[in-house]
């Protein structure tokens, strides 16, 4: 696990935001992954000294602004997911790749559940279980991040 500098982190975040802004249409919307969330969580686990709850929260705020939803909904969910990742961060880097994937799956589900809860509080329609489909595509994206930047776990000797 090589050390990372802040510019790579910020660049990947901006690329993720660009993908987030890509106009999706038709049935693909149901499967659209959370680009920014997965990149943020990756860096939170990989480099907690650079990306912490605050930047994750800010990334969520940008998602709120770009989707036009109530300010603070995604921010809260992103911040909480980053907190859960940080809470066990020193244990997570000891996990193997698939254990880590399972944990990230739980984080993504938590984030979606928080947003869903806040949306329902704000008088939105219940979209049903299909709202959780993007978690699968986001997990695939996680594997892609691991392929590109290396697993955020310690190599075994």
């Amino acid at each position: 696990m090589r050390p990372v500098n802040l510019t790579t982190v910020l660049l990947t975040l901006i690329v993720a935001l660009t993908f987030q802004l890509y106009p999706w249409s038709g049935q693909g919307v149901i499967l659209r992954p959370d680009f920014l969330l997965v990149v943020t969580l990756y860096w939170v686990i990989r480099a907690p000294h650079l990306i912490n709850v605050g930047i994750a929260w800010f990334a969520g705020l940008i998602v709120d602004l770009s989707t036009g939803s109530l300010l603070g909904q995604h921010a809260l969910a992103f911040g909480f997911a980053a907190f859960l990742a940080l809470l066990y961060q020193r244990r997570l880097v000891l996990f193997n790749r698939w254990q880590l994937t399972v944990y990230v799956f739980a984080l993504l589900i938590t984030e979606r559940a928080i947003v869903l809860m806040l949306k329902l509080f704000a008088d939105n329609e219940n979209p049903g279980l299909s709202y959780f489909w993007p978690v699968i595509t986001t997990l695939i994206l996680w594997q892609l991040m691991v392929l590109m930047f290396g697993a955020p776990t310690r190599p075994r000797h």
Partner: protein
């Protein structure tokens, strides 16, 4: 002595082994509180609209980059559309244009006649709103809301509250205008109401969206109401936002349940939001301040026109003219 040292050291806290700043929990609590405050402010107060606008303007270049691949794809697809298909389409469009021209001739005659009748009745001339052609950028990134985003914003004089229509009928209303884009809430959104009229018998009502299901509801109409399946609902124009006579929906279901005094009337929107990209953003006829003086002048000219024939106005006119004379 040993005991004394022990007593001195005991109340000290052990320093953290890793220096990580504030603990994740305290950070999380702080940002949770911050986002709850933001949500409350955003939902109840209107302070954040300007912030949102400036931010979305700043995000515009990134949005352009994000759209570039799909734009290229569209261009390539357009390039490869078969020549024959374009010819066919051209033929069909020409035929349609001829048909429309014939209809337009009739419309012009009827409009002239209508204007004449209106002047006879001394009514106001109907306002024909100006329109801006826009294109749908995307169907909104939020799966919860029935919103589309169009590529016209405050730079193109789009304001919140304007009606949006396509060739078939009403699509919705602009709810947020950003510098280069605007958010259009569809008529199927449960927060949007639209005053309508049944085309067949001119019955007025207010239609509400139903949220997810792509239908429109007409609540609080008695079970004896004269609405049948297949009736066309058009805008009544009494709100000043939507011009009168635009198609809104067709009634698909009329149910009467014995335990409710109201009929359950379900209709589906006519406008095809999913079918094409272009739409028209109509300018607001009345809420503009510039519209108010023109209305006033209209009233003035109307009162001035019959002035020679009616008796009270000649007496009123000299009285106004006399005032400056008296002061001199």
């Amino acid at each position: 002595m040993l005991k004394g040292v022990h007593q001195k050291l005991e109340p000290q806290e052990s320093p953290a082994f890793f220096v990580r700043g504030p603990s994740p929990f305290s950070r999380m609590m702080f940002f949770c509180a911050l986002s709850i405050v933001l949500m409350a402010v955003d939902s109840r107060l209107n302070y954040l609209a300007q912030f949102r606008q400036t931010f979305i303007a700043a995000l515009h270049p990134l949005e352009l980059i994000a759209q570039a691949p799909s734009d290229w794809g569209m261009n390539i697809r357009h390039y490869f559309t078969a020549h024959g298909r374009l010819l066919d389409e051209n033929q069909a469009l020409k035929q349609e244009a001829v048909q429309h021209k014939v209809m337009l001739q009739r419309l012009q005659m009827i409009e002239l006649e209508n204007a004449h009748l209106r002047t006879l009745l001394q009514g106001n001339a109907p306002i024909i709103p100006k329109a801006i052609l826009g294109e749908i950028l995307h169907m909104g990134r939020d799966p919860f809301s029935n919103v589309i985003v169009v590529n016209r914003g405050t730079h193109h004089d789009v304001k919140a509250g304007q009606a949006v229509v396509d060739a078939e009928g009403v699509i919705g209303q602009v709810t947020r205008a950003f510098p280069f884009s605007a958010e259009v809430t569809l008529i199927t959104d449960d927060n949007l109401a639209i005053p309508i009229q049944v085309e067949r018998n001119q019955l007025r009502a207010i239609a509400f969206g139903e949220g997810k299901s792509n239908t429109i509801d007409l609540p609080f109409l008695p079970t004896s109401v004269d609405i049948k399946v297949g009736d066309r609902l058009v805008t009544s124009g009494i709100d000043g936002v939507y011009p009168a006579g635009l198609a809104v929906a067709t009634v698909t279901e009329v149910r009467q349940s014995p335990d409710s005094p109201f009929a359950k009337i379900v209709s589906t929107p006519i406008a095809g939001v999913n079918n094409h990209l272009q739409l028209l953003i109509l300018s607001l006829p009345e809420s503009q301040q510039s519209a108010m003086p023109t209305e006033a002048t209209q009233v003035k000219t109307e009162t001035a026109k019959p002035a020679p024939t009616t008796s009270p106005s000649p007496t009123a006119k000299p009285s106004i003219e006399n005032k400056p004379n008296a002061s001199r």
